[in-house]
């Protein structure tokens, strides 16, 4: 009897809830796998998918978004064997998801409230998602560095387009399969592998993007992102790569706040 031949995974981009090849047909070799090299068009498709799923995800109740994030953690735990990262990094990623799952219905009482205005109005301010957020994942650690930026973006009700590390795209692409079984609606998270230097400027300059979280740790690229973001007043947060659980949650409120808008509503009282 001949030895069984392993079934090798074909890695694909994750756009609009679907596993797709790069429209460009390009690919790179990484750790014995073919990895799609995303194109400018793939970035635009991903932004469109994120935009189109934005209102529905934002309209989910905070309780529901919390449960989806928690199921994301459950699914990641169950797929642990699939990830070729240190177990400690995987554990930190799972725990980070659990932490932010609990944030979804805490953000509003922490950042919002009733404003004691000096006039007969019920005036209140509450956080709302900024919209579509671009995430530049760091090279290292490839999984936690991505999850620690993605989790607050999702918890605050945003949708995301993530550019994965050039050198370490596999954990991010594997994460797509976890999301497929975690009830994260299609289009809410989009994952692109490829050349960051090629894709990040297209993403940051896209006028349908509302914010960028830049964890690339590349200062020159960061400055370019800033300039491109200015074209449409896109919000930018630069972050050093998150290397441990504590680091990823210590400034959780600041991470959430960076992808949040505050809306103030005034309703008359009486008259």
């Amino acid at each position: 009897m001949s030895e069984r031949l392993a079934v090798k995974k074909t890695y694909k981009l994750f756009v609009g809830g679907a596993f797709v090849r790069s429209e460009s047909g390009r690919y790179d070799r990484n750790q014995g796998f073919n990895v799609p090299r995303g194109s400018r068009k793939d970035v635009r498709d991903a932004v469109l998918a994120a935009r189109n799923s934005s209102n529905k995800w934002a309209a989910r109740t905070a309780y529901n978004r919390g449960q989806v994030l928690y199921r994301f953690a459950e699914a990641l735990e169950s797929r642990a064997a699939d990830f070729h990262v240190d177990r400690s990094e995987l554990d930190a990623s799972i725990d980070t998801l659990v932490h932010y799952a609990g944030w979804t219905d805490k953000l509003q009482p922490v950042l919002g409230g009733i404003n004691p205005v000096a006039a007969p109005f019920l005036s209140f301010s509450l956080p709302e998602p900024t919209g579509v957020v671009g995430i530049l994942a760091p090279d290292s650690p490839p999984l936690l560095g991505l999850v620690a930026e993605l989790a607050p973006v999702l918890a605050a009700g945003n949708t995301a387009v993530c550019i994965l590390s050039d050198d370490q795209p596999l954990p991010g692409l594997d994460l797509a399969e976890v999301m497929g079984i975690a009830d994260v609606p299609g289009g809410v998270v989009n994952l692109l592998s490829g050349r960051r230097a090629e894709l990040a400027p297209v993403l940051a300059g896209h006028h349908a993007l509302n914010a960028v979280v830049d964890a690339s740790a590349d200062d020159a690229l960061g400055a370019e992102i800033d300039r491109l973001a200015a074209e449409s007043v896109t919000r930018v947060r630069h972050a050093r790569p998150t290397t441990g659980y504590d680091e990823g949650v210590r400034d959780a409120l600041s991470r959430l706040e960076a992808v949040t808008e505050l809306k103030t509503a005034w309703h008359p009282v009486g008259a």
Binding site: N115, S123, V233
Partner: protein, 485 residues
Amino acid sequence: MTETRTRIVWDYAPAPESPDHVRLRDSYGLFIGGEFVDPLDGTRVASINPATEEVVAEVAFAGAQDVSRAVQAARSAQPGWAALTGLERGKYLFRIARLIQERARELAIVESMDGGKPVRESRDVDVPLAAAHFFHYAGWADKLSYGVGGRSVEPLGVAAQIVPWNFPLLMAAWKLAPALACGNTAVLKPAETTPVTALLLAEICQEAELPEGVVSIIPGDGATGAALVREPDIDKVAFTGSTSVGKNIQAALAGRGVSLTLELGGKSANVVFEDAALDQAVEGIVNGIFFNQGHVCCAGSRLLIQESVADAVVAKLWERMGRLRVGDPLDKNTDVGAINSREQLERIEELVESGEGEGAVRRTVACELPSRGFWFAPTIFTDVAPAHRIAVEEIFGPVVSVMTFRTQAEAIEKANNSAYGLAAGIWTDKGSKAFEVASALQAGVVWQNTYNHFDPSAAFGGYKESGFGREGGPAGLRPYLRVVP
């Protein structure tokens, strides 16, 4: 075509506010390091009353060296200011609030002289809100971590602040009060056409014995502002003004790690549903677009009316517009004052011409306008298409563009169909609808059955290209603080 109607003439006697007790100097220096100084490389420019074209006062404009000098003064003063206890910092701000109240009448008159806004508004809105803003943030100075979700925080350092000409004193208060409460020092650049009340505020800082260098006030034009944001030794830029300048500033700060807050333009939708109290709505529409001659970033300049009541609302609005009193800003009965500057008047005229050229129907109230000064009579456009420039671009004048809608979903889609997202109004008597629509609108401030209300405890700021960061309330502290991990 311009259709006009005869204005109903009310026999009001003139009721001018007397400027007799206003004590203005002939010439103001730059306020740097706690004193008024001559510019090193700046100029001296006359600040003009836009209602009379007479000189209000001569004012020094800062040159590049002056900007550096002001930033250095702020840098030197910052450690000492931050080292004060929050209570002591707050006490200075309480003093400033009290002194603004003391000089309220004078400030209101000068604000109307320098900027052209009706004194009724300066007296009842600008000046009291400026005082209230200092009073509000004074009380935050020793409670900062409560305002930011319990986080441990420290001041950013030196804040460069640039304010517009539409609410000169109020915008200065919005900028300075939170910056100082958080332990920052500030360099404030008032607008080119309206620097005078900020210089009176500088006098108030002196009267309050604010430590020297904590606040510097350096009037100037766009070049001064551009130099200020390019100063190497600043930690924060807070800008209120046009979206195009805001984008330039954001780009200029690329890669520098300088904290930025932008409060930019708007093309805010004021949405009138068929179940609204229409007479009340008309008053709100008037307040939304003709308040401060429409020189308001959150002005309700896109009026969306449900089709079934559109004719009725437009008829009532046009009738009401005919009763607006346009003229002397210092007259207490004036509703619409002077346009802030010749340049702004030209911009309004150019956009209004484009509206006619693109096929919208223009009606402008026929009223006697003074022969001198800069004036634009209240104007309404109907038959406006969403792609017309007057439906897309900020006019920043007393001009409202009317569009209609049939369903709630269409109203939301049209309201959100803008690069801006500063404010919105909703007129309906149905509470559940108001909350649902308010939640769906991409705008930083949503007013239901009211418009243009402001309060120091309520956050203000935009979505999308209307900027980021908030002013007012605890949210207004965060842009001036660094979170200590």
